[in-house]
Protein backbone atom coordinates (compact mmCIF):
# COMPACT_ATOMS: atom_id res chain seq x y z
CA UNK A 1 0.00 0.00 0.00
CA UNK A 2 1.89 3.08 -1.22
CA UNK A 3 -0.87 5.55 -0.51
CA UNK A 4 0.84 8.43 1.30
CA UNK A 5 -0.37 9.21 4.78
CA UNK A 6 -0.64 12.86 3.82
CA UNK A 7 -3.32 12.00 1.28
CA UNK A 8 -5.26 9.91 3.74
CA UNK A 9 -5.17 12.74 6.24
CA UNK A 10 -6.19 15.28 3.65
CA UNK A 11 -9.05 13.12 2.64
CA UNK A 12 -10.17 12.64 6.21
CA UNK A 13 -10.00 16.37 6.92
CA UNK A 14 -11.69 17.20 3.65
CA UNK A 15 -14.53 14.85 4.28
CA UNK A 16 -14.96 16.19 7.79
CA UNK A 17 -15.07 19.69 6.40
CA UNK A 18 -17.52 18.66 3.74
CA UNK A 19 -19.72 16.87 6.17
CA UNK A 20 -19.77 19.93 8.34
CA UNK A 21 -20.53 22.16 5.39
CA UNK A 22 -23.20 19.85 4.15
CA UNK A 23 -24.77 19.84 7.58
CA UNK A 24 -24.86 23.60 7.64
CA UNK A 25 -25.74 24.56 4.13
CA UNK A 26 -27.35 21.69 2.31
CA UNK A 27 -30.98 22.51 1.73
CA UNK A 28 -33.50 19.76 2.38
CA UNK A 29 -34.55 19.84 -1.28
CA UNK A 30 -32.37 17.93 -3.74
CA UNK A 31 -29.73 19.90 -5.59
CA UNK A 32 -31.11 22.02 -8.41
CA UNK A 33 -29.42 24.23 -10.94
CA UNK A 34 -28.80 26.79 -8.23
CA UNK A 35 -26.59 24.30 -6.46
CA UNK A 36 -23.59 25.17 -8.60
CA UNK A 37 -23.78 28.69 -7.29
CA UNK A 38 -24.31 27.48 -3.75
CA UNK A 39 -21.29 25.30 -4.24
CA UNK A 40 -18.95 28.09 -5.31
CA UNK A 41 -20.14 30.52 -2.73
CA UNK A 42 -20.38 28.31 0.31
CA UNK A 43 -17.65 25.73 0.03
CA UNK A 44 -14.41 27.13 -1.23
CA UNK A 45 -12.13 24.19 -0.60
CA UNK A 46 -9.74 25.53 1.94
CA UNK A 47 -8.13 22.27 2.95
CA UNK A 48 -6.29 19.91 0.65
CA UNK A 49 -6.95 21.95 -2.48
CA UNK A 50 -9.70 21.66 -5.01
CA UNK A 51 -9.92 18.82 -7.51
CA UNK A 52 -9.78 19.41 -11.23
CA UNK A 53 -11.79 17.22 -13.61
CA UNK A 54 -8.57 15.77 -14.94
CA UNK A 55 -7.72 14.51 -11.47
CA UNK A 56 -10.13 11.61 -12.06
CA UNK A 57 -7.49 10.15 -14.36
CA UNK A 58 -4.37 11.22 -12.50
CA UNK A 59 -5.07 11.47 -8.76
CA UNK A 60 -4.05 8.26 -7.08
CA UNK A 61 -6.97 8.40 -4.66
CA UNK A 62 -9.63 9.19 -7.27
CA UNK A 63 -8.26 6.47 -9.51
CA UNK A 64 -9.33 3.93 -6.92
CA UNK A 65 -12.74 2.99 -8.27
CA UNK A 66 -13.31 -0.45 -6.81
CA UNK A 67 -14.46 -1.33 -3.29
CA UNK A 68 -14.06 -4.99 -2.34
CA UNK A 69 -16.17 -6.95 0.16
CA UNK A 70 -16.06 -10.06 2.32
CA UNK A 71 -18.24 -13.07 1.43
CA UNK A 72 -21.95 -12.42 1.91
CA UNK A 73 -21.06 -9.12 3.61
CA UNK A 74 -21.98 -5.56 2.75
CA UNK A 75 -19.99 -3.46 5.26
CA UNK A 76 -17.24 -1.28 3.85
CA UNK A 77 -13.78 -2.16 5.10
CA UNK A 78 -11.73 0.70 6.57
CA UNK A 79 -9.11 0.49 3.82
CA UNK A 80 -11.66 1.81 1.31
CA UNK A 81 -12.81 4.80 3.40
CA UNK A 82 -10.09 7.05 1.97
CA UNK A 83 -11.09 6.43 -1.63
CA UNK A 84 -14.75 6.95 -0.76
CA UNK A 85 -13.90 10.27 0.88
CA UNK A 86 -11.99 11.42 -2.21
CA UNK A 87 -14.89 10.55 -4.50
CA UNK A 88 -17.35 12.20 -2.14
CA UNK A 89 -15.20 15.32 -2.14
CA UNK A 90 -15.02 15.33 -5.92
CA UNK A 91 -18.77 14.80 -6.26
CA UNK A 92 -19.45 17.58 -3.79
CA UNK A 93 -17.18 19.89 -5.73
CA UNK A 94 -18.73 19.04 -9.08
CA UNK A 95 -22.49 18.82 -8.52
CA UNK A 96 -23.01 17.93 -12.17
CA UNK A 97 -20.87 14.82 -11.81
CA UNK A 98 -22.75 11.51 -11.64
CA UNK A 99 -21.65 8.04 -10.64
CA UNK A 100 -23.20 4.62 -11.06
CA UNK A 101 -22.27 2.19 -8.32
CA UNK A 102 -22.17 -1.25 -9.90
CA UNK A 103 -22.66 -3.93 -7.26
CA UNK A 104 -21.27 -7.41 -7.89
CA UNK A 105 -21.07 -10.73 -6.07
CA UNK A 106 -19.01 -13.89 -6.36
CA UNK A 107 -20.55 -17.04 -7.84
CA UNK A 108 -21.53 -18.65 -4.54
CA UNK A 109 -25.23 -18.44 -3.78
CA UNK A 110 -28.00 -18.23 -6.34
CA UNK A 111 -28.12 -15.64 -9.08
CA UNK A 112 -31.17 -13.68 -8.02
CA UNK A 113 -30.02 -13.73 -4.39
CA UNK A 114 -26.71 -12.31 -5.56
CA UNK A 115 -28.58 -9.58 -7.40
CA UNK A 116 -29.93 -8.57 -3.98
CA UNK A 117 -26.48 -8.85 -2.41
CA UNK A 118 -24.89 -6.71 -5.14
CA UNK A 119 -27.52 -4.05 -4.56
CA UNK A 120 -26.89 -4.05 -0.82
CA UNK A 121 -23.19 -3.47 -1.53
CA UNK A 122 -23.99 -0.71 -4.02
CA UNK A 123 -26.30 0.89 -1.45
CA UNK A 124 -23.59 0.65 1.21
CA UNK A 125 -21.12 2.57 -1.00
CA UNK A 126 -23.87 4.99 -1.98
CA UNK A 127 -24.72 5.86 1.60
CA UNK A 128 -21.04 6.15 2.51
CA UNK A 129 -20.56 8.62 -0.35
CA UNK A 130 -23.68 10.46 0.77
CA UNK A 131 -22.48 10.66 4.34
CA UNK A 132 -19.14 11.99 3.12
CA UNK A 133 -20.73 14.80 1.14
CA UNK A 134 -22.06 13.56 -2.20
CA UNK A 135 -25.65 14.37 -3.08
CA UNK A 136 -28.22 11.60 -3.46
CA UNK A 137 -29.07 12.86 -6.94
CA UNK A 138 -25.49 12.16 -8.04
CA UNK A 139 -25.60 8.51 -7.04
CA UNK A 140 -27.17 5.63 -8.96
CA UNK A 141 -26.93 1.97 -7.92
CA UNK A 142 -27.11 -0.94 -10.37
CA UNK A 143 -26.61 -4.50 -9.21
CA UNK A 144 -25.21 -7.05 -11.62
CA UNK A 145 -25.16 -9.83 -9.04
CA UNK A 146 -22.76 -12.54 -10.23
CA UNK A 147 -23.43 -11.85 -13.92
CA UNK A 148 -20.26 -9.84 -14.59
CA UNK A 149 -17.36 -11.76 -13.11
CA UNK A 150 -13.87 -10.40 -13.81
CA UNK A 151 -12.51 -13.92 -13.44
CA UNK A 152 -14.09 -17.36 -13.47
CA UNK A 153 -11.91 -19.62 -11.35
CA UNK A 154 -13.46 -21.34 -8.36
CA UNK A 155 -11.56 -20.18 -5.30
CA UNK A 156 -11.03 -17.27 -2.96
CA UNK A 157 -8.32 -15.66 -5.15
CA UNK A 158 -10.89 -15.12 -7.85
CA UNK A 159 -13.99 -14.74 -5.66
CA UNK A 160 -12.50 -11.76 -3.78
CA UNK A 161 -12.00 -9.92 -7.08
CA UNK A 162 -15.63 -10.43 -8.01
CA UNK A 163 -17.13 -9.26 -4.68
CA UNK A 164 -16.96 -5.59 -5.56
CA UNK A 165 -18.63 -2.28 -6.18
CA UNK A 166 -17.28 -0.37 -9.17
CA UNK A 167 -17.57 3.41 -9.03
CA UNK A 168 -18.32 4.42 -12.63
CA UNK A 169 -18.48 8.11 -13.57
CA UNK A 170 -21.30 8.69 -16.04
CA UNK A 171 -20.74 12.48 -15.92
CA UNK A 172 -17.48 14.07 -14.80
CA UNK A 173 -18.70 17.57 -14.04
Amino acid sequence: MKLPIRLLLTAAVASATLAACAGKTKPPAPATDTSTQTETTTTPPTTGGAYKVGDLDTDSCLRQRIVYFEFDKTDIKSQFQAAISCHAKYLHQFPGARVTLEGNADERGTREYNLGLGERRGNAVSSALGTAGASVSQLNVVSYGEERPVCKEHGEDCWQKNRRVEIVYTAKQ
Partner: protein, 442 residues
Protein backbone atom coordinates in the same frame (compact mmCIF):
# COMPACT_ATOMS: atom_id res chain seq x y z
CA UNK B 1 -34.36 -58.30 -45.93
CA UNK B 2 -32.52 -58.29 -42.64
CA UNK B 3 -29.22 -57.57 -44.37
CA UNK B 4 -30.68 -54.69 -46.36
CA UNK B 5 -32.04 -53.18 -43.19
CA UNK B 6 -28.73 -53.59 -41.44
CA UNK B 7 -27.01 -51.73 -44.25
CA UNK B 8 -29.58 -48.98 -43.99
CA UNK B 9 -28.99 -48.78 -40.30
CA UNK B 10 -25.28 -48.25 -40.77
CA UNK B 11 -25.89 -45.63 -43.42
CA UNK B 12 -28.27 -43.82 -41.09
CA UNK B 13 -25.77 -43.85 -38.32
CA UNK B 14 -23.14 -42.31 -40.54
CA UNK B 15 -25.55 -39.67 -41.79
CA UNK B 16 -26.59 -38.85 -38.24
CA UNK B 17 -23.01 -38.57 -37.01
CA UNK B 18 -22.04 -36.48 -40.00
CA UNK B 19 -24.94 -34.11 -39.49
CA UNK B 20 -24.16 -33.68 -35.80
CA UNK B 21 -20.49 -33.06 -36.56
CA UNK B 22 -21.41 -30.53 -39.22
CA UNK B 23 -23.85 -28.75 -36.98
CA UNK B 24 -21.25 -28.48 -34.27
CA UNK B 25 -18.61 -27.29 -36.68
CA UNK B 26 -20.89 -24.55 -37.92
CA UNK B 27 -22.44 -23.46 -34.70
CA UNK B 28 -20.64 -23.50 -31.38
CA UNK B 29 -23.97 -22.98 -29.62
CA UNK B 30 -24.96 -26.57 -30.35
CA UNK B 31 -24.47 -28.49 -27.13
CA UNK B 32 -22.75 -31.84 -27.11
CA UNK B 33 -24.57 -34.47 -25.16
CA UNK B 34 -23.36 -37.52 -23.35
CA UNK B 35 -25.00 -39.82 -20.88
CA UNK B 36 -23.28 -40.68 -17.63
CA UNK B 37 -23.98 -43.66 -15.45
CA UNK B 38 -26.69 -46.20 -15.99
CA UNK B 39 -29.00 -48.09 -13.78
CA UNK B 40 -29.35 -51.83 -13.37
CA UNK B 41 -32.92 -51.67 -12.08
CA UNK B 42 -34.21 -49.90 -15.19
CA UNK B 43 -36.73 -51.69 -17.40
CA UNK B 44 -35.10 -53.27 -20.50
CA UNK B 45 -36.72 -52.28 -23.78
CA UNK B 46 -35.78 -52.96 -27.40
CA UNK B 47 -36.48 -50.26 -29.96
CA UNK B 48 -35.92 -51.84 -33.37
CA UNK B 49 -34.81 -49.53 -36.22
CA UNK B 50 -37.96 -48.38 -38.05
CA UNK B 51 -38.52 -49.40 -41.66
CA UNK B 52 -38.67 -46.77 -44.37
CA UNK B 53 -41.60 -47.54 -46.68
CA UNK B 54 -41.69 -46.31 -50.25
CA UNK B 55 -37.93 -46.23 -50.82
CA UNK B 56 -36.06 -42.99 -51.35
CA UNK B 57 -33.22 -41.67 -49.26
CA UNK B 58 -33.31 -42.45 -45.54
CA UNK B 59 -34.27 -39.39 -43.51
CA UNK B 60 -31.57 -37.53 -41.56
CA UNK B 61 -33.14 -38.55 -38.27
CA UNK B 62 -33.15 -42.14 -37.07
CA UNK B 63 -36.43 -42.21 -35.16
CA UNK B 64 -35.52 -45.35 -33.19
CA UNK B 65 -32.20 -43.76 -32.11
CA UNK B 66 -34.04 -40.75 -30.72
CA UNK B 67 -36.57 -42.93 -28.87
CA UNK B 68 -33.78 -45.08 -27.41
CA UNK B 69 -31.84 -42.02 -26.22
CA UNK B 70 -34.99 -40.52 -24.66
CA UNK B 71 -35.84 -43.70 -22.76
CA UNK B 72 -32.23 -44.10 -21.54
CA UNK B 73 -32.04 -40.53 -20.37
CA UNK B 74 -35.00 -40.69 -18.01
CA UNK B 75 -33.42 -43.45 -15.90
CA UNK B 76 -36.49 -45.72 -15.81
CA UNK B 77 -35.54 -47.63 -18.97
CA UNK B 78 -32.47 -49.32 -20.36
CA UNK B 79 -32.74 -49.48 -24.14
CA UNK B 80 -31.03 -52.40 -25.86
CA UNK B 81 -28.04 -50.90 -27.73
CA UNK B 82 -28.57 -50.77 -31.45
CA UNK B 83 -25.50 -52.95 -32.00
CA UNK B 84 -27.09 -55.74 -29.94
CA UNK B 85 -30.20 -55.82 -32.11
CA UNK B 86 -30.01 -58.91 -34.32
CA UNK B 87 -33.47 -59.12 -35.82
CA UNK B 88 -35.34 -56.31 -37.50
CA UNK B 89 -39.11 -56.81 -37.35
CA UNK B 90 -41.06 -53.75 -38.45
CA UNK B 91 -44.58 -55.04 -37.68
CA UNK B 92 -46.02 -56.97 -34.79
CA UNK B 93 -46.52 -60.14 -36.78
CA UNK B 94 -42.79 -60.25 -37.63
CA UNK B 95 -41.65 -60.30 -33.99
CA UNK B 96 -40.08 -63.62 -32.86
CA UNK B 97 -40.69 -63.30 -29.13
CA UNK B 98 -38.23 -66.06 -28.04
CA UNK B 99 -35.35 -63.95 -29.47
CA UNK B 100 -36.29 -60.92 -27.35
CA UNK B 101 -36.97 -63.11 -24.34
CA UNK B 102 -33.50 -64.53 -24.68
CA UNK B 103 -32.15 -60.94 -24.81
CA UNK B 104 -34.04 -60.34 -21.54
CA UNK B 105 -36.16 -57.55 -22.98
CA UNK B 106 -39.38 -56.66 -21.16
CA UNK B 107 -40.80 -54.60 -24.03
CA UNK B 108 -40.23 -54.18 -27.74
CA UNK B 109 -41.12 -51.29 -30.05
CA UNK B 110 -41.30 -51.76 -33.82
CA UNK B 111 -42.40 -49.28 -36.46
CA UNK B 112 -42.18 -47.85 -39.92
CA UNK B 113 -42.14 -44.50 -41.66
CA UNK B 114 -44.22 -43.62 -44.70
CA UNK B 115 -44.17 -40.56 -46.94
CA UNK B 116 -47.53 -38.84 -46.52
CA UNK B 117 -49.06 -35.94 -48.42
CA UNK B 118 -47.70 -32.37 -48.19
CA UNK B 119 -44.18 -33.44 -47.28
CA UNK B 120 -45.19 -35.06 -44.02
CA UNK B 121 -43.85 -38.33 -42.74
CA UNK B 122 -46.19 -40.72 -41.01
CA UNK B 123 -44.58 -42.80 -38.25
CA UNK B 124 -46.49 -45.90 -37.17
CA UNK B 125 -45.34 -47.85 -34.15
CA UNK B 126 -46.38 -50.81 -32.01
CA UNK B 127 -45.41 -51.61 -28.43
CA UNK B 128 -45.41 -55.22 -27.16
CA UNK B 129 -44.99 -56.87 -23.80
CA UNK B 130 -42.38 -59.55 -24.60
CA UNK B 131 -43.22 -62.04 -21.81
CA UNK B 132 -46.95 -61.88 -22.49
CA UNK B 133 -46.45 -61.56 -26.26
CA UNK B 134 -49.15 -58.95 -26.02
CA UNK B 135 -49.68 -55.79 -28.09
CA UNK B 136 -50.05 -52.86 -25.73
CA UNK B 137 -50.21 -50.01 -28.17
CA UNK B 138 -50.39 -49.27 -31.89
CA UNK B 139 -50.50 -45.65 -33.00
CA UNK B 140 -49.22 -43.30 -35.66
CA UNK B 141 -47.93 -39.74 -35.54
CA UNK B 142 -47.28 -37.50 -38.53
CA UNK B 143 -44.99 -34.55 -38.84
CA UNK B 144 -42.86 -32.57 -41.26
CA UNK B 145 -39.74 -34.39 -42.44
CA UNK B 146 -37.74 -31.54 -40.91
CA UNK B 147 -39.31 -32.26 -37.50
CA UNK B 148 -38.77 -36.01 -37.37
CA UNK B 149 -37.00 -35.65 -34.04
CA UNK B 150 -40.14 -34.01 -32.65
CA UNK B 151 -42.22 -36.93 -33.96
CA UNK B 152 -39.78 -39.42 -32.39
CA UNK B 153 -40.02 -37.61 -29.02
CA UNK B 154 -43.83 -37.90 -29.21
CA UNK B 155 -43.53 -41.65 -29.85
CA UNK B 156 -41.19 -41.93 -26.84
CA UNK B 157 -43.74 -40.01 -24.73
CA UNK B 158 -46.54 -42.42 -25.69
CA UNK B 159 -44.41 -45.50 -25.00
CA UNK B 160 -43.31 -44.03 -21.68
CA UNK B 161 -46.90 -43.27 -20.66
CA UNK B 162 -48.21 -46.69 -21.70
CA UNK B 163 -45.64 -48.48 -19.54
CA UNK B 164 -45.30 -46.15 -16.55
CA UNK B 165 -48.78 -44.62 -16.43
CA UNK B 166 -47.21 -41.16 -16.33
CA UNK B 167 -47.31 -38.70 -19.21
CA UNK B 168 -43.97 -38.53 -21.01
CA UNK B 169 -42.03 -35.26 -21.14
CA UNK B 170 -39.53 -35.91 -23.93
CA UNK B 171 -41.39 -33.74 -26.44
CA UNK B 172 -40.71 -30.59 -24.46
CA UNK B 173 -38.17 -27.81 -24.63
CA UNK B 174 -35.57 -26.21 -22.41
CA UNK B 175 -34.54 -22.58 -22.14
CA UNK B 176 -31.10 -21.56 -20.92
CA UNK B 177 -28.65 -18.67 -20.87
CA UNK B 178 -25.21 -18.77 -22.47
CA UNK B 179 -22.30 -16.40 -21.97
CA UNK B 180 -18.87 -15.99 -23.49
CA UNK B 181 -16.12 -13.77 -22.07
CA UNK B 182 -15.52 -11.97 -18.75
CA UNK B 183 -16.16 -8.59 -17.12
CA UNK B 184 -17.76 -6.02 -19.41
CA UNK B 185 -16.76 -8.00 -22.50
CA UNK B 186 -19.36 -10.76 -22.24
CA UNK B 187 -21.82 -11.83 -24.94
CA UNK B 188 -25.03 -13.26 -23.50
CA UNK B 189 -27.76 -15.24 -25.24
CA UNK B 190 -31.09 -16.69 -24.19
CA UNK B 191 -31.63 -19.98 -26.01
CA UNK B 192 -34.42 -22.50 -26.48
CA UNK B 193 -33.72 -26.11 -27.51
CA UNK B 194 -35.42 -29.50 -27.53
CA UNK B 195 -35.35 -31.29 -24.18
CA UNK B 196 -32.34 -33.34 -25.37
CA UNK B 197 -30.40 -30.21 -26.35
CA UNK B 198 -30.95 -30.54 -30.11
CA UNK B 199 -32.29 -27.76 -32.35
CA UNK B 200 -31.01 -24.83 -30.29
CA UNK B 201 -32.38 -21.46 -31.37
CA UNK B 202 -31.54 -17.99 -30.12
CA UNK B 203 -34.34 -16.09 -28.41
CA UNK B 204 -32.28 -12.98 -27.52
CA UNK B 205 -28.67 -11.89 -27.94
CA UNK B 206 -27.32 -9.18 -25.64
CA UNK B 207 -24.08 -7.50 -24.61
CA UNK B 208 -25.68 -6.98 -21.20
CA UNK B 209 -26.58 -9.76 -18.77
CA UNK B 210 -29.62 -11.97 -19.37
CA UNK B 211 -31.08 -13.93 -16.47
CA UNK B 212 -33.85 -16.04 -15.05
CA UNK B 213 -35.85 -17.39 -18.01
CA UNK B 214 -39.34 -18.61 -17.06
CA UNK B 215 -41.93 -20.27 -19.32
CA UNK B 216 -45.56 -19.25 -19.64
CA UNK B 217 -47.85 -22.21 -18.87
CA UNK B 218 -48.87 -22.49 -22.57
CA UNK B 219 -45.17 -22.72 -23.56
CA UNK B 220 -45.48 -19.85 -26.04
CA UNK B 221 -43.75 -17.11 -24.08
CA UNK B 222 -40.70 -16.65 -21.92
CA UNK B 223 -40.26 -14.05 -19.20
CA UNK B 224 -36.67 -13.08 -18.44
CA UNK B 225 -34.45 -10.41 -16.96
CA UNK B 226 -32.29 -8.29 -19.22
CA UNK B 227 -29.90 -5.45 -18.39
CA UNK B 228 -29.99 -3.98 -21.90
CA UNK B 229 -31.71 -0.82 -20.57
CA UNK B 230 -28.82 -0.30 -18.14
CA UNK B 231 -30.54 -1.88 -15.17
CA UNK B 232 -32.41 -5.12 -14.61
CA UNK B 233 -35.82 -5.13 -16.34
CA UNK B 234 -38.36 -7.91 -16.86
CA UNK B 235 -39.35 -8.75 -20.43
CA UNK B 236 -41.99 -11.11 -21.76
CA UNK B 237 -41.26 -12.44 -25.24
CA UNK B 238 -43.26 -14.57 -27.62
CA UNK B 239 -40.92 -17.32 -28.82
CA UNK B 240 -42.39 -17.90 -32.26
CA UNK B 241 -42.54 -14.23 -33.34
CA UNK B 242 -39.81 -12.67 -31.21
CA UNK B 243 -42.16 -9.83 -30.23
CA UNK B 244 -41.58 -8.71 -26.69
CA UNK B 245 -42.41 -6.08 -24.12
CA UNK B 246 -40.96 -4.70 -20.91
CA UNK B 247 -43.35 -5.45 -18.06
CA UNK B 248 -41.24 -4.16 -15.16
CA UNK B 249 -38.52 -1.50 -15.17
CA UNK B 250 -38.63 0.09 -11.75
CA UNK B 251 -35.73 1.64 -9.86
CA UNK B 252 -33.47 -1.05 -8.43
CA UNK B 253 -33.90 -4.77 -9.01
CA UNK B 254 -36.57 -6.12 -11.36
CA UNK B 255 -35.98 -9.83 -11.19
CA UNK B 256 -37.01 -13.46 -10.82
CA UNK B 257 -40.17 -13.60 -12.96
CA UNK B 258 -42.49 -16.63 -12.61
CA UNK B 259 -45.84 -17.09 -14.39
CA UNK B 260 -48.76 -18.27 -12.28
CA UNK B 261 -50.12 -21.73 -13.20
CA UNK B 262 -53.09 -20.08 -15.00
CA UNK B 263 -50.80 -17.64 -16.80
CA UNK B 264 -52.64 -14.50 -15.64
CA UNK B 265 -50.10 -13.32 -13.08
CA UNK B 266 -46.37 -12.88 -12.79
CA UNK B 267 -44.59 -13.28 -9.46
CA UNK B 268 -41.38 -11.25 -9.42
CA UNK B 269 -38.87 -9.41 -7.25
CA UNK B 270 -38.66 -5.63 -6.89
CA UNK B 271 -36.23 -3.76 -4.66
CA UNK B 272 -37.24 -0.18 -5.48
CA UNK B 273 -33.60 0.61 -4.87
CA UNK B 274 -33.87 -0.33 -1.22
CA UNK B 275 -34.41 -4.01 -0.59
CA UNK B 276 -35.80 -6.96 -2.62
CA UNK B 277 -39.35 -8.15 -1.83
CA UNK B 278 -41.81 -10.43 -3.63
CA UNK B 279 -44.55 -8.86 -5.75
CA UNK B 280 -47.32 -10.30 -7.91
CA UNK B 281 -48.33 -8.55 -11.11
CA UNK B 282 -51.73 -8.96 -12.70
CA UNK B 283 -50.65 -9.26 -16.34
CA UNK B 284 -53.86 -7.77 -17.75
CA UNK B 285 -53.74 -4.57 -15.68
CA UNK B 286 -49.97 -4.59 -14.97
CA UNK B 287 -50.83 -3.76 -11.38
CA UNK B 288 -48.37 -5.20 -8.85
CA UNK B 289 -49.19 -6.21 -5.28
CA UNK B 290 -46.50 -6.55 -2.65
CA UNK B 291 -46.47 -10.00 -1.00
CA UNK B 292 -43.51 -9.77 1.38
CA UNK B 293 -42.25 -6.81 3.41
CA UNK B 294 -38.99 -7.63 5.10
CA UNK B 295 -35.55 -6.04 5.38
CA UNK B 296 -34.07 -9.37 4.24
CA UNK B 297 -33.44 -10.32 0.62
CA UNK B 298 -36.68 -11.98 -0.52
CA UNK B 299 -36.46 -13.31 -4.07
CA UNK B 300 -36.84 -16.26 -6.49
CA UNK B 301 -40.60 -16.75 -6.07
CA UNK B 302 -42.18 -19.83 -7.66
CA UNK B 303 -45.82 -20.89 -7.50
CA UNK B 304 -47.43 -23.81 -5.79
CA UNK B 305 -49.55 -25.78 -8.32
CA UNK B 306 -52.82 -24.44 -6.85
CA UNK B 307 -51.72 -20.87 -7.58
CA UNK B 308 -52.51 -19.86 -4.00
CA UNK B 309 -49.02 -19.36 -2.63
CA UNK B 310 -45.44 -18.68 -3.59
CA UNK B 311 -42.29 -20.39 -2.36
CA UNK B 312 -39.33 -18.03 -2.26
CA UNK B 313 -35.77 -17.53 -1.02
CA UNK B 314 -35.14 -15.28 1.97
CA UNK B 315 -32.11 -14.64 4.19
CA UNK B 316 -34.32 -13.36 7.03
CA UNK B 317 -32.92 -16.05 9.33
CA UNK B 318 -29.32 -15.13 8.45
CA UNK B 319 -28.64 -17.49 5.57
CA UNK B 320 -30.85 -18.09 2.55
CA UNK B 321 -33.73 -20.53 3.21
CA UNK B 322 -37.02 -21.32 1.47
CA UNK B 323 -40.30 -19.87 2.73
CA UNK B 324 -43.89 -20.20 1.64
CA UNK B 325 -46.39 -17.33 1.72
CA UNK B 326 -50.03 -17.10 0.62
CA UNK B 327 -50.57 -14.64 -2.23
CA UNK B 328 -53.63 -13.29 -0.45
CA UNK B 329 -51.33 -11.86 2.20
CA UNK B 330 -50.20 -13.30 5.46
CA UNK B 331 -47.07 -14.54 7.14
CA UNK B 332 -44.35 -16.52 5.43
CA UNK B 333 -43.56 -19.96 6.82
CA UNK B 334 -40.07 -21.42 6.64
CA UNK B 335 -40.05 -24.80 4.86
CA UNK B 336 -36.36 -25.81 4.71
CA UNK B 337 -34.40 -26.84 7.78
CA UNK B 338 -31.51 -28.99 6.54
CA UNK B 339 -28.33 -27.59 5.02
CA UNK B 340 -26.68 -24.24 5.76
CA UNK B 341 -28.55 -22.54 2.94
CA UNK B 342 -31.36 -23.42 0.53
CA UNK B 343 -32.42 -21.30 -2.42
CA UNK B 344 -34.02 -21.15 -5.87
CA UNK B 345 -36.89 -23.59 -5.51
CA UNK B 346 -38.47 -25.59 -8.34
CA UNK B 347 -41.80 -27.21 -7.47
CA UNK B 348 -42.96 -30.50 -9.07
CA UNK B 349 -46.29 -30.41 -10.96
CA UNK B 350 -48.10 -32.12 -8.06
CA UNK B 351 -46.47 -29.93 -5.41
CA UNK B 352 -45.09 -32.97 -3.63
CA UNK B 353 -41.43 -32.26 -4.25
CA UNK B 354 -39.30 -29.16 -4.12
CA UNK B 355 -35.87 -29.09 -5.74
CA UNK B 356 -33.42 -26.45 -4.50
CA UNK B 357 -29.79 -25.38 -4.51
CA UNK B 358 -28.44 -26.41 -1.12
CA UNK B 359 -25.21 -24.89 0.22
CA UNK B 360 -22.92 -26.39 2.83
CA UNK B 361 -19.66 -24.49 3.19
CA UNK B 362 -18.47 -23.81 -0.34
CA UNK B 363 -20.29 -26.84 -1.75
CA UNK B 364 -23.59 -26.26 -3.53
CA UNK B 365 -25.67 -29.21 -4.68
CA UNK B 366 -29.21 -29.85 -5.83
CA UNK B 367 -31.39 -31.37 -3.14
CA UNK B 368 -35.01 -32.52 -3.30
CA UNK B 369 -37.41 -32.04 -0.42
CA UNK B 370 -40.25 -34.56 -0.16
CA UNK B 371 -43.03 -32.50 1.42
CA UNK B 372 -44.92 -35.53 2.73
CA UNK B 373 -41.99 -37.02 4.67
CA UNK B 374 -40.02 -33.81 5.20
CA UNK B 375 -36.90 -35.63 4.00
CA UNK B 376 -34.32 -33.83 1.90
CA UNK B 377 -31.99 -35.80 -0.38
CA UNK B 378 -29.12 -34.55 -2.52
CA UNK B 379 -29.42 -35.61 -6.16
CA UNK B 380 -26.30 -33.98 -7.62
CA UNK B 381 -22.63 -34.51 -6.93
CA UNK B 382 -20.96 -31.31 -8.15
CA UNK B 383 -19.54 -28.44 -6.14
CA UNK B 384 -21.35 -25.44 -7.58
CA UNK B 385 -24.67 -26.85 -8.78
CA UNK B 386 -27.59 -24.45 -9.09
CA UNK B 387 -30.85 -23.52 -10.82
CA UNK B 388 -32.84 -26.80 -10.63
CA UNK B 389 -35.88 -27.12 -12.88
CA UNK B 390 -38.34 -30.03 -12.85
CA UNK B 391 -39.56 -31.65 -16.06
CA UNK B 392 -43.35 -31.15 -16.35
CA UNK B 393 -43.90 -34.79 -15.24
CA UNK B 394 -41.21 -34.50 -12.51
CA UNK B 395 -39.35 -37.54 -13.92
CA UNK B 396 -36.17 -35.51 -14.40
CA UNK B 397 -34.51 -32.36 -13.13
CA UNK B 398 -32.34 -30.01 -15.14
CA UNK B 399 -29.67 -28.00 -13.36
CA UNK B 400 -26.53 -25.98 -13.98
CA UNK B 401 -23.08 -27.09 -12.84
CA UNK B 402 -19.46 -25.98 -13.14
CA UNK B 403 -16.74 -27.91 -14.89
CA UNK B 404 -13.39 -26.19 -14.63
CA UNK B 405 -14.11 -22.56 -15.35
CA UNK B 406 -17.16 -23.16 -17.50
CA UNK B 407 -20.82 -23.79 -16.85
CA UNK B 408 -22.57 -26.92 -18.14
CA UNK B 409 -26.08 -28.34 -17.80
CA UNK B 410 -27.13 -31.67 -16.41
CA UNK B 411 -30.44 -33.45 -16.85
CA UNK B 412 -30.73 -35.96 -14.03
CA UNK B 413 -33.38 -38.59 -13.39
CA UNK B 414 -35.52 -37.75 -10.37
CA UNK B 415 -33.79 -40.51 -8.38
CA UNK B 416 -30.40 -38.99 -9.25
CA UNK B 417 -29.13 -42.18 -10.89
CA UNK B 418 -28.84 -41.22 -14.53
CA UNK B 419 -27.53 -37.92 -15.77
CA UNK B 420 -27.07 -36.40 -19.17
CA UNK B 421 -24.70 -33.51 -19.72
CA UNK B 422 -25.13 -30.62 -22.11
CA UNK B 423 -21.94 -28.72 -22.89
CA UNK B 424 -21.23 -25.79 -25.16
CA UNK B 425 -18.11 -25.94 -27.31
CA UNK B 426 -17.29 -22.39 -26.25
CA UNK B 427 -18.58 -20.56 -23.20
CA UNK B 428 -20.94 -21.10 -20.30
CA UNK B 429 -24.42 -22.52 -20.31
CA UNK B 430 -26.64 -22.01 -17.26
CA UNK B 431 -30.05 -21.24 -15.76
CA UNK B 432 -31.95 -24.03 -17.46
CA UNK B 433 -35.74 -23.90 -17.39
CA UNK B 434 -37.79 -26.89 -18.48
CA UNK B 435 -40.84 -25.99 -20.57
CA UNK B 436 -44.39 -27.13 -19.85
CA UNK B 437 -45.84 -29.91 -22.03
CA UNK B 438 -46.00 -28.90 -25.67
CA UNK B 439 -49.20 -28.61 -27.59
CA UNK B 440 -49.29 -29.77 -31.20
CA UNK B 441 -48.78 -26.97 -33.68
CA UNK B 442 -46.37 -25.25 -31.32
Amino acid sequence: MTKTLARFTIAWLLVLCASIAMAQGLNSDVPTIDIKNGTATATPIAVVPFAIDGGGLPPQTDVADVIRADLNRCGQFRALPKSDIVEFPTRGEEIKFPTWNMLKQAYIVVGRETQAANGEIRVEFELFDVAKQQRLQGLSISGQASDLRGVAHQVADLVYEKITGVRGAFWTRIAYVTSKGTGTNIAYALMVADSDGFNPQTVVNSRQPLMSPAWSPDGRKIAYVSFERGNSSIYIQEIATGSREVVSANKGINGAPAFSPDGTKLAHTLSNGINPDIYIMDLASRHSTQITKHFAIDTEPVWTPDGQSVIFTSDRSGKAQLYQAPISGGDATRITFTGESNARASVSFDGKKIAMAQGNGNVYRIAVLDRATGETKPISTGGLDESPSFAPNASMILYAASEGSRGVLFAVSADGRVSQRLVLADGDVREPAWSPYRQRGQ
